[in-house]
Symmetry: C2
Subunit: 196 residues, 2 copies
DNA sequence: ACGACACGACACGGTACGTTCCGTTTCCGC
DNA sequence: GCGGAAACGGAACGTACCGTGTCGTGTCGT
């Protein structure tokens, strides 16, 4: 997220205040009212300072959101791939269901279509690593014989996350635990069943 | 989409010019540069006229996009549910892959998080009806014995469309026909396979 | 100690917003 | 036909936020 003047002289105080204000404003007034000027005012910081370290408000919120997501959606390995996927997806869904993180991520996604750099950063810093972790967990289930050897694991990840994104973007009411369990079951079934 | 002054005196000429200009500008300069002012200037129309009939530029493009999508993604019934779903999803993916429709829909989706009315209109006028059609086609396949009686059809639709939205929003390279076929196969398998 | 540099502050031009006013054109009802 | 309501195009308004530039202050590394 840090863009240019790689320096140790950066004010950690300002950095924290900016990230915190960005999330706070997102909770209080919604992503649309989070502007660089509002963040600067709330954090007691100059706009210049924000622009020095982040290219856009989306990048600021991406940094803040990434930390929260990583904490909320660990990849456990209890030996039961179904249970592990359920708790993982449930963590993501739960995080997205509460301000400021749900609105923040919706806002970040909304910027991607006109902000190539942000889209690249989101994929490289958040999505791709998480997808790789998910594939790793599925591969481990393969080794334990819970998933057939030839299964299309990348597709499985997209079938898991696809509906989560679909509902979040379209702002349909969030999934409950049972819906998530059904989804996970279906994805695992699709890997196990023979082609037709 | 028509919001208020229900009247037959509306200028059809202006309406068409506005929708056309919105799509043209989207092709030429990208969704971000489609502004109400730009549409008005390009269409030779007053801003007031646009605001009189549509609440936002997203609503204008939703109206233009909806027409195109309905034409591009018919629900056929050849008796082969797999083939019909493949061609249906392929139609949607193909439409999203070309300007102005891909960028236009990405732009529309990007407005949902801060525009409750647009989100409601998108669901009511585009998403929900199409989902119902898809469920109807799946139900017909059920009657023909291609899908088990107890299958979760709404979930199946989300598993089909989820990855399409996921990739479109994250701006991953679009799916080719083979990927789509694999996705459809997996979804159908997940409905047929026994619970685990 | 000193110089480089991040900092807060403030001001700038630019763009698009959504609204209002005005004068013109179109079309329905009488 | 004719009168009037209403939609129309055009122009201008104040507001908000953008991203950048400037300036003086303070602090940290050398």
């Amino acid at each position: 997220m840090i863009t240019s003047p790689s320096s140790v002289r950066r004010s950690e105080r300002s950095r924290r205040a900016i990230l915190r204000s960005a999330l706070d404003l997102c909770t209080e007034r919604g992503y649309g009212h989070v502007t660089i000027e509002a963040i600067a005012a709330d954090a007691g910081v100059s706009k210049k300072t924000i622009y020095r370290w982040w290219p856009s408000k989306g990048a600021v919120l991406l940094e803040a959101f990434t930390d929260a997501l990583i904490d909320a959606t660990p990849f456990t390995d209890t030996g039961d791939i179904g249970a592990d996927l359920r708790s993982h997806v449930a963590g993501a869904v739960k995080l997205l269901s509460v301000p400021p993180f749900g609105p923040a991520y919706a806002g970040i996604l909304s910027e991607l279509h006109h902000d190539d750099l942000l889209a690249q950063q989101l994929r490289e810093q958040l999505v791709d690593p998480r997808v790789e972790e998910a594939i790793g967990r599925l591969r481990s289930a393969q080794d334990q014989g819970q998933i057939p050897p030839g299964a299309d694991l990348p597709l499985a990840v997209e079938m898991l996350y696809g509906p989560v994104y679909y509902r979040h973007v379209l702002r349909k009411p969030v999934q409950d635990e049972e819906t998530i369990a059904t989804l996970v079951d279906h994805v695992l079934r699709s890997l196990r069943a023979p082609g037709y």
